[in-house]
Symmetry: C2
Subunit: 477 residues, 2 copies
């Protein structure tokens, strides 16, 4: 293990993060907020970055292990240094780290008790961390800093380790640039759309940050319910749906082939799941909750897309819904959005391939000697990809089960334990019970918060990148 390489790259990352923190500083100047939180945060983050990158040698080359360590520790560092403004705003260190990790990982779970009491610049930073984390801070770093070269691919794969690789360009730096540009462009369109729908500039930018990142933070405790505006809901629903799909396909749809998106197996399945879940949820709300068909549909489509894309916005306190409605949301929590999107969760493509795998096994039990490869987008899926998917799902459910068990041992009920675990591991945000959409994660004991911080970190990096560091094998030699 080349520790010097890791620390050098982390240093560069922190200098970069320090520079980014100048943005909320400008916002603080504009709104006349206290400048100390961001001035001090920029100074500490920048100086630490400069120290590390000067003290340790520049990276020459590294192996997979160093790549995992850089990405896992890079995200942890971003969360730690990104929590400085919250701490200087008077929030306790663990709560600050929780909020910061929930931001960068685009989870959207909050421990802030009175959200509106915080300054506009602090809430701007809170939304902005989600936007940075959505497309990936490491990817942004790769796109902007020239010196990483070939080693960048490893970081890219460790940060966004979806089962299907989309090579937009042969050079990873070009790919990262394109993805970030597509992300920025669609974000800009959403800002304009929200402004036209009557939102203020501040609200439009902060909600775009957290929609496009599938994040779910809002500067308002009542989330999207505070607007009570069908047009705004519709725009946010549409952009959540876009953000939960593959950005490489968005690029192709815009520049090479108009049908890229609709031809994609994962996207089709994503749309089908949303349609089925919305239908069941609409029926359930209409049948059990005394809602009209149209208001049932309005709540259902927003909430299914919000939860499935792991955004976590709410237009209603769905914790008060009938259990059959909650089960629909619980089911889509486990699925998540598409690979290559800004969403979290297990991801649609993994479910789809597991279903194809199971279907093949049924076929094989009747025709034992038949050879039938698994196809995705008309290409055969290699065995090692299937193995990685199965292993991912096994480890994911293991962490989910352990987390649920530990929370229940801290005295939480089953529903709250289950949903707090999946809501953080899947980077969704709200769950049910104690951690419902209008409730607050501050009710958890300190050690529970630390557990959920770990869940968010592990979940954002799709399990392997963090978990592999816990194996003795990783540290050997």
């Amino acid at each position: 293990m080349k520790y010097g390489v890791i620390l050098n790259v982390l240093g560069a990352l922190l200098r970069f993060l320090g520079a980014i923190m100048l943005v909320p500083l400008i916002v603080a100047i504009y709104y006349g907020d206290s400048l100390y939180p961001f001035l001090i945060a920029v100074t500490i983050t920048g100086l630490t970055g400069i120290f590390l990158s000067k003290r340790y040698n520049s990276p020459d080359e590294w192996k997979a292990r160093e790549g995992f360590a850089i990405v896992a520790l890079g995200w942890l560092s971003a969360a730690v240094f990104g929590s400085i403004p919250y701490m200087l705003d008077g929030i306790s260190p663990v709560n600050s780290l929780f909020e910061s990790m929930s931001g960068f990982t685009t989870t959207g779970a909050t421990v802030l008790l009175d959200i509106e009491a915080h300054s506009r610049s602090i809430l701007f930073w809170r939304s902005m961390t989600q936007w940075l984390g959505g497309m990936g801070i490491i990817m942004l770093f790769i796109a902007i800093l020239p010196k990483l070269g070939v080693a960048g691919r490893q970081l890219f794969r460790a940060e966004a380790p979806g089962p299907t690789e989309d090579k937009i360009k042969p050079r990873i730096r070009e790919t990262a640039k394109i993805l970030w540009m597509v992300y920025c462009s669609i974000s800009l369109i959403e800002v304009v759309a929200l402004l036209l729908a009557g939102m203020s500039v501040y609200d439009a930018i902060t909600h775009t940050f957290t929609t496009m990142a599938c994040g779910g933070f809002s500067p308002y405790a009542q989330s999207i319910a505070s607007f009570n505006n069908p047009l705004i809901e519709g725009i946010i629903t549409l952009f959540m749906f876009i953000a939960g799909a593959n950005f490489a396909l968005h690029y192709r749809t815009l520049y090479t082939d108009r049908k890229s998106l609709v031809k994609d197996d994962e996207f089709k399945f994503y749309a089908v799941v949303i349609i089925i879940a919305t239908s069941i949820l609409t029926f359930s709300l209409w049948n059990y909750m005394d809602e009209t068909i149209s208001s049932s549909f309005r709540y259902a489509v927003f909430q299914v897309i919000s939860i499935m894309t792991t955004t976590g916005f709410a237009t209603v306190d769905f914790n008060l819904w009938v259990d059959s409605a909650k089960i629909v949301l619980l089911a889509v929590m486990f699925i998540g959005g598409c690979a290559g999107s800004t969403s979290g969760g297990i991801k649609v493509v993994r479910f789809l391939l597991l279903l194809k795998y199971a279907k093949r096994a049924l076929f094989k039990s009747i025709h034992p000697r038949a050879v039938q490869p698994i196809k995705h987008n008309n290409k055969t899926v290699p065995d090692d990809v299937m193995q990685a998917i199965v292993s991912f799902v096994v480890i994911y459910f293991m962490i989910f089960a352990v987390s649920t068990g530990l929370l229940s041992l801290m005295g939480m009920d089953i529903i709250s334990s289950v949903t707090a675990s999946i809501a953080t591991l899947g980077n969704i945000g709200p769950g049910f019970g104690l951690v419902g959409p209008m409730a607050n994660f501050d009710v958890l004991p300190l050690v529970g918060k630390i557990l959920l911080i770990a869940n968010m970190w592990i979940g954002r990096l799709e399990v392997f990148t963090v978990i592999v560091m816990l194996t003795p094998e990783f540290w050997r030699r």
Copy 2:
């Protein structure tokens, strides 16, 4: 598809079942109960069997499909004809089928409202169906009827499709005979032990039937709690533990190698899970439920083994426990006992191999080019076995999710829907909430009962044997 072959073998099976029903008839004579339920059941079952086996040709040879159909429909027929005595006892047809399917599949979920109000012969039959289903009615059929020959192996595999095959003898009929003899012998020992502990002959036999089968029916509504006797609890705990382990290993331990059981990877993991779950449950009951350490341990060890082996006996209404205690039971519900045992669930070996699979993936992410086969009992696990395990687990969870969703749409709460689904699919019996150990499945709507009857049937035959019949491919040509 050779329908004649299927109907012929089903006929033979029903004649056989009719003959077995003479046993509860004798019990009814002994206790002076009404003889009609069993007289009529024997007549209908026997005559249907004779008709089918005379009308259709004797089996010459068949393929995998016919084997699946015989086993799946054989179990369904046993449940249907086995429900005749209940119907003649005044229970509604769907409730009778529920109780009969719950019996043969060794689930142990009950819809009888006042258990003690039924005659001793009816309750004897109820327990006896579990014992017959425990080691397998098809396996008993193979062991006793000589004419199946080579085709028996297919039936054997379709009834007990564990991922690891244990060939005790080259001939499948010998293997089936030996397993049934081991099963009878250990059952006899349990009867003697329970008699020595002070049980009546009737109680000792009926409870042995349902312990050795990992079934869980008791002629008493209060289950094992009705005895309130630590010695009886201890004996039943021990025999549940034995019944939840692999009977092929029991045979080897008795006749070839004393260390067969303790050397086995699955058995070791089974024991470790029980120890860990019992420890956490003991702590949880002691910490949250104001129990002493010793009574916490007494409840915990009984309940963990009862639920993990999918027996479902209760010494306490665990539905009243704190949620952290319930989560321990919920976790072991999903695991189940060992392959080759009379238990249900996903089975310990499948979990163990999935964990090894995930561990290998972590290793591979650091050493991408390393070749590391998955070992079980020092033998490499073939790829197709791993594929079958993964597919099994995927289909199992799919059925679980669909069943849970459907129950919730019928108005059940999440906890009851989840546990009613897993308790029937895993052939466990009781769940939590509406379907707790001292509650009753009669609260479910009619369509809910039919769904759970299907779950029990699908679960007992480990998913594939039934589900494959739902594919169009199965019926083609």
